[in-house]
C-alpha cells in the first residue's frame, strides 16, 4: 500500500489516537494532555496542508477497505472533502486552544478532551468519506461522540438536552440508514462521483429515487437543522461554549449540510436531481428555515439561544445554494459552508468570553461590555456584520453568489427572500451591537470571574481564537479573489460538478 492511500488514515489517526490516550489519562496530567491535544491538531493541519498541495498537483488520496464482499469503506481526499477537512482541522485547533482556557480548573477534563478528539475524528471522517456507507459510519459516530459533550455538565438540564438531541439524531440516523440501504440495493455501490451516479438508473426508477431522496434528506436534515427537524439545536445550547462553537460551526450541523451537498451533487447529480424535480421542494424547505430561524432569533434574550436560531437560519443558506441550479448557486452555497463556520465560531467564542469573564448570558445584560472587553467585542461585531452580509466580510461573498445563483436559476422569489433574511439578520444583530458599544456599562458586572490584566481583557487563550477567526472573516471577504481564498477553491469544485 502506498503512502498516498495511508494519508487519509493518518489524518483520522492524528485526532483519534490522542483522543484515546487522553481518555485514559488521569485528571492531573494537564501538561501531557495539552501537549497531546496540540500535537495532534498541528499534525493534522500539516498533513492536510500536504494533501492540499498534492491535490493541486493532481495527486489522489484514496483508501479502500472491504467490510463485506461488496461493501467498501472508502476515504477519498477530493477537493470538496479537503475544503471541509481544512475547515474542521483549522477550527479544531483554535477551539482546542479556546477549550483549554475555558475549562481551566473544571472537573472531568480528560473525558471532555477525549470525546472532543473523537468528535473531530468523526467530522474528518464525514468529510473524507468516499461513499455513502462510509459517510453514514462517521455520521453516526459523530452523534455518539457529541452526546457526552452535550451532557458534559451533568446537570438535569444538560441531561434533558442530551435526551432531545439523541431522539432527534438517532431517529434521523435510522431514516437515513433506510434510504442508504435502499439506494445500495438499487445501485450496488454508491461512490461519491462528481456529476452523480444515480442517473445510470434512468427515469423508470423516478418514484423510488424520489422516496429515497426524501429519506436521505430527512436523515441529514436533522443534523442540518432544517425546519421542522431543528428542535434539538436550541436545546443543545446547554453545552459548554467550546462545544457549542464546534457543534454549530464545524461538526454537527455542517455534517448535515455537507451530506446534502454530497447527495445532491455526487450521488444524484445536480442535473439528474433537477430532472427528478427534487431541487424545488428542497429550496422551499431551506427558505422556510432561513426565515423561521431569523424570526425566532429576534425573540431570544439568551445570547447563545439567539445565536443558535441564527445558525438554523444560516446553515440553510448552504442548502439553498445547493438547490439553485447553476454554478453561481453552487459556489454561494458551498463557500458559505466555510464562511458560516468561521463567522459563527467567532460569535460563539465571544459569547463564551462574555459568560466566562463577566457572567453575561443574556443580551439585556450586555450593556457597555464593548468598553470592558474591546477585542472580544470587535471580533463579535466583525462576525455579526459578516452574518448580515456587509461588504468586505466573508458573508458578503456568500450572499453575492447566492443572489447571482437565484438570478441564473430564474427564481426571483429567492432574491426577495434573501433580502428579507438580511434585514432580519440586521434586526437581531444590530441591537446587540448597540448595547455593546453605545449603552453605558453598569456599576458592577454580574459576576466578574476574570479580571483585566494590562492589555489582556480576559484569559489569553480565550481571546486569541476569536480574534484570529474575526481576522479570517475579513480576510476571506477582502482577499476573495486571490488563489488562497475559500472562494477560489470552491470555484474549482463547482467546475467539476458541472463539467460532464
Amino acid at each position: 500500500m502506498n503512502f498516498n492511500a495511508i494519508l487519509p488514515l493518518l489524518v483520522l489517526a492524528s485526532s483519534l489516537v490522542p483522543g484515546m490516550i487522553i481518555f485514559f489519562l488521569p485528571e492531573s496530567r494537564i501538561r501531557l494532555r495539552t501537549t497531546l491535544n496540540l500535537t495532534g491538531a498541528i499534525l493534522k493541519l500539516l498533513l492536510i496542508g500536504y494533501m492540499l498541495w498534492g491535490v493541486q498537483h493532481d495527486q489522489s488520496y484514496v483508501f479502500r477497505y472491504n467490510v463485506l464482499p461488496d461493501l467498501e469503506l472508502v476515504f477519498k481526499a477530493d477537493a470538496l472533502a479537503l475544503l471541509f477537512v481544512t475547515l474542521s482541522a483549522a477550527l479544531w485547533f483554535l477551539t482546542t486552544l479556546y477549550a483549554i482556557g475555558y475549562l481551566e480548573g473544571s472537573p472531568h477534563r480528560s473525558r471532555f478532551f477525549g470525546f472532543f478528539s473523537f468528535c473531530v475524528t468523526a467530522t474528518v471522517g464525514v468529510a473524507m468519506a468516499g461513499n455513502l456507507f462510509t459517510f453514514f459510519v462517521f455520521y453516526e459516530l459523530l452523534t455518539l461522540s457529541t452526546y457526552p459533550l452535550v451532557v458534559h455538565r451533568g446537570t438535569a438540564a444538560a441531561i434533558r438536552a442530551g435526551n432531545i438531541y439523541l431522539v432527534y439524531t438517532l431517529a434521523g440516523g435510522a431514516v437515513f440508514l433506510t434510504g442508504i440501504v435502499w439506494l445500495y440495493g438499487l445501485l450496488g455501490q454508491v461512490e461519491f462521483t462528481p456529476g452523480g451516479v444515480a442517473a445510470t438508473l434512468g427515469l423508470e426508477y423516478t418514484a423510488q429515487l424520489q422516496v429515497i431522496f426524501l429519506l436521505l434528506i430527512a436523515g441529514l436534515g436533522v443534523k442540518a437543522a432544517l425546519v421542522p427537524l431543528h428542535g434539538w439545536l436550541p436545546q443543545a445550547m446547554i453545552a459548554p461554549a467550546p462545544v457549542s462553537a464546534l457543534l454549530h460551526a464545524v461538526a454537527v450541523v455542517k455534517a448535515g449540510a455537507f451530506g446534502i451537498i454530497r447527495i445532491v451533487y455526487e450521488v444524484y447529480g445536480i442535473e439528474f436531481a433537477q430532472t427528478l424535480n427534487l431541487l424545488m421542494p428542497l429550496a422551499i424547505v431551506a427558505s422556510i428555515t432561513i426565515i423561521w430561524g431569523s424570526l425566532r432569533a429576534l425573540w431570544q434574550d439568551d445570547l447563545k439561544r439567539r445565536l443558535a436560531y441564527s445558525t438554523i437560519s444560516q446553515v440553510s443558506y448552504i442548502i439553498l445554494g445547493v438547490t439553485l441550479f447553476g454554478p453561481a448557486g453552487t459556489i454561494g452555497g458551498v463557500v458559505h459552508l466555510v464562511h458560516q463556520g468561521i463567522m459563527k465560531i467567532t460569535l460563539f467564542f465571544c459569547a463564551g468570553n462574555y459568560a466566562e469573564t463577566l457572567g453575561i448570558h443574556k443580551i439585556s445584560e450586555m450593556n457597555g461590555a464593548g468598553r470592558r472587553m474591546p477585542w472580544t467585542s470587535i471580533a463579535f461585531s466583525v462576525a455579526a456584520f459578516g452574518m448580515m452580509g456587509a461588504p468586505l466580510t466573508a458573508g458578503y461573498v456568500s450572499k453575492l453568489y447566492l443572489n447571482q445563483g437565484a438570478e441564473m436559476a430564474e427564481m426571483a422569489w429567492v432574491s426577495w427572500m434573501l433580502t428579507a433574511s438580511s434585514l432580519l439578520n440586521a434586526a437581531y444583530f444590530l441591537p446587540i451591537l448597540y448595547r455593546l458599544w453605545f449603552v453605558n456599562q453598569p456599576q458592577k458586572w454580574l459576576q466578574e470571574r476574570i479580571r483585566a490584566r494590562g492589555r489582556w481583557e480576559t484569559h489569553g487563550l480565550l481571546l486569541i481564537p476569536p480574534v484570529v477567526t474575526a481576522v479570517a472573516t475579513l480576510g476571506a471577504g477582502i482577499f476573495a479573489d486571490t488563489g488562497w481564498s475559500p472562494l477560489f477553491w470552491v470555484k474549482l469544485i463547482a467546475e467539476m460538478e458541472y463539467l460532464p
Binding site: V67, H108, F136, L141, Y147, G154, A158, A174, V181
Partner: protein
C-alpha cells in the same frame, strides 16, 4: 493430520473433573490454561474447515448408525470459535470477580467446564438423540450456575429455569421418538434424505413442531421469555454473561440447523412468518420492558430477550425468492448472533463491575460512575453501540445485511421493526449512560475494583465493535461447505 474435534469435547470434561477435585472455588488458573489450549484448537479447526470444507468424524471409529457421529462445517466453526473467544475473557473476569465477592463461587469452575463441554458437543453433534443428551447436560450445568449464588431469588430462578429446560428437552425428545419410530434412525445424515424423498407424514410434522417448540422455549423467544430475566439477571455476573451470550445461542443454533436442513421439506412460508412475527414482538416488547427496569442487570437481561428477536427475523427473510436476499439474511442472522454474544457478555460483565462497586443493583445509584469507573462505563457504551446496531460494530453489519435483505426482498414490515428496535435499544442503553453522567447520589460510597475486572469486559466490547471490520472472515468461515 491432527484432529481437534474429539479433544474439544474431552478436554473441558477433564478440566471440569479436575477442578471439582481441587475443591470449592479453586481451579481458575487451570481453567484459564485449558481454555487457551481449546481456543488454539478451535482456531486450528476453523482453518481446517476453511481449507478442506465440512467433514464427519466417527467417535472411536464406530460410524453411524451404531456409533456416535460428529459433524463440523462453517457454522459449527463459527459457534465454536465464538464460544471460546467469549469464554476466555470471561474466565479472567470471573477469577477477579470471585476474588472480590465469594458468593456464587462454590462450583463455578467445574460447572463452567461442563457447560463448555456440553456446548462444544452440541455444536458438533450429528444425530438428534446425541443432541438431546448435550441439551440436557447444557441445561443442568446452566441451572447449577444460576443456583450458585444460593439466595432465595436465585434458587427460585434456577428452579424455574430447570423446569423450563426440562419441559423443552422433554418435548424435543418426544419429537426424536416420533422420528425414530417413523424412519428408524436418529442420524441427521440418514434422516435428511428420507424426509426429503418420502411423502410428508403426520408424525414427522408433529415431531418437527414438538422439537422446534421445545427449542424455542429454551431460546426464550417471545412469549416463552418469562424465565430468562430472573435467571440471567439474578445470577452472578460471570454466569449471566455466559448464559446470555452463549447458552441461549446453542438452542438457537439447533433451530437453525433443523429448520434449514432436516425439516426443510416440512416448513412453510407461514411458519417462517410466524417465527418472524414472534421475533418482532420480542424486539419491541423486550426493549420496552428493558427500558422499564430499575435494576441494571434486569435491564441487560431484558435486552437479551429483545436481541433474540432479531435472530428470528432471518426465517421470513430467508423465504425470499431473490437469491441475494436469502443469502444476506443468513449472513446477517449469523453476524447478529456473533455480535450479540460478544456485546452481551461485555455488557453483563460491565454491569457486574458497576453493581459490585455501587454495592447494590440499582440504576438510580449509577450517578458519578462516569468519573469513578470510566473504563467500565465506556465498555458498557461500546457494547451498547453493537446492540443499537450503530457503526462500525458487528451489530451494524448484521443490521445492514438484514435490512438489505428485507429491502431487496420487498419485506418492508421487517425493516420498520428493525429500525424501531434499534431506536428502542438506544433508549434503554442511554437510560444507563445518562444516569452515569449525573452527580453521585448523596451518601453513596463506591468501592474500588481491581483492574482485571475492567479489562476483560473492555476487550469483549472492543472485539464486538471491531468485528465490523473483520466480517469478511466470519462470512468466509460461514460459507465454507
Amino acid at each position: 493430520m491432527f484432529d481437534p474435534v474429539p479433544w474439544l469435547i474431552l478436554l473441558p470434561l477433564v478440566w471440569g473433573c479436575l477442578t471439582f477435585l481441587t475443591g470449592v472455588g479453586r481451579g481458575g488458573r487451570l481453567v484459564l490454561a485449558g481454555l487457551i489450549i481449546q481456543l488454539v484448537l478451535t482456531i486450528i479447526l476453523a482453518r481446517q474447515i476453511v481449507m478442506e470444507g465440512a467433514r464427519h468424524y466417527a467417535v472411536g471409529g464406530w460410524g453411524a448408525p451404531l456409533g456416535v457421529d460428529l459433524y463440523v462445517d462453517g457454522l459449527t466453526g463459527i459457534m465454536l470459535l465464538l464460544t471460546h473467544v467469549v469464554a476466555l475473557p470471561l474466565v479472567v473476569y470471573a477469577r477477579a470477580y470471585f476474588s472480590s465477592q465469594a458468593e456464587g463461587a462454590s462450583y463455578f469452575w467445574p460447572l463452567t467446564c461442563f457447560l463448555l463441554a456440553a456446548m462444544n458437543a452440541l455444536f458438533m453433534s450429528a444425530d438428534i438423540f446425541n443432541i438431546y443428551v448435550t441439551l440436557e447436560l447444557l441445561g443442568l450445568a446452566a441451572v447449577g450456575l444460576v443456583a450458585a449464588a444460593g439466595s432465595a431469588g436465585s434458587v427460585t430462578a434456577a428452579i424455574r429455569y430447570l423446569l423450563v429446560t426440562l419441559l423443552g428437552s422433554g418435548a424435543y425428545l418426544m419429537g426424536v421418538a416420533l422420528l425414530y419410530g417413523t424412519y428408524g434412525s436418529v442420524s441427521l445424515a440418514v434422516l435428511e434424505p428420507l424426509l426429503a424423498t418420502t411423502e410428508i407424514s403426520a408424525a414427522a410434522c408433529l415431531a418437527a413442531m414438538l422439537m422446534l417448540a421445545g427449542l424455542l422455549l429454551k431460546t426464550a423467544l417471545f412469549p416463552f421469555h418469562f424465565w430468562l430475566p430472573p435467571a440471567h439477571g439474578g445470577a452472578p455476573a460471570p454466569v449471566s454473561a455466559l448464559l446470555s451470550a452463549l447458552v441461549i445461542k446453542a438452542s438457537f443454533y439447533l433451530i437453525l440447523r433443523l429448520w434449514f436442513d432436516l425439516f426443510a421439506p416440512l416448513v412453510t412460508t407461514q411458519a417462517a412468518q410466524l417465527l418472524g412475527g414472534l421475533g418482532a414482538a420480542a424486539i419491541l416488547w423486550g426493549s420496552i420492558l428493558a427500558f422499564n427496569q430499575t435494576r441494571l442487570k434486569m435491564l441487560v437481561a431484558y435486552s437479551t430477550v429483545a436481541q433474540i428477536g432479531y435472530l428470528f427475523l432471518l426465517f421470513p427473510l430467508m423465504t425470499s425468492a431473490i437469491p441475494g436476499a436469502a443469502e444476506s439474511a443468513m449472513q446477517g442472522g449469523v453476524m447478529q448472533l456473533v455480535a450479540h454474544a460478544l456485546a452481551k457478555a461485555a455488557m453483563f460483565a460491565a454491569a457486574g463491575v458497576m453493581v459490585l462497586s455501587a454495592g447494590k443493583d440499582d440504576i438510580a445509584l449509577l450517578g458519578g460512575m462516569s468519573s469513578h469507573l470510566p473504563l467500565t462505563l465506556f465498555t458498557f457504551a461500546l457494547a451498547g453501540i453493537t446492540l443499537m446496531g450503530l457503526p462500525p460494530s458487528g451489530g451494524f453489519i448484521a443490521k445492514w445485511l438484514l435490512i438489505d435483505s428485507a429491502v431487496s426482498g420487498g419485506q418492508w414490515g421487517w425493516v420498520v421493526v428493525m429500525i424501531l428496535g434499534g431506536l428502542l435499544s438506544a433508549a434503554y442503553v442511554f437510560k444507563v449512560l445518562r444516569q452515569a453522567f449525573l452527580p453521585p447520589v448523596a451518601g453513596i460510597k463506591f468501592k474500588p475494583v481491581i483492574r482485571m475486572l475492567e479489562w476483560p469486559a473492555f476487550l469483549l466490547a472492543l472485539i464486538s465493535l471491531l468485528l465490523g471490520f473483520r466480517s469478511v472472515e466470519v462470512l468466509n468461515l460461514l460459507g465454507a461447505a
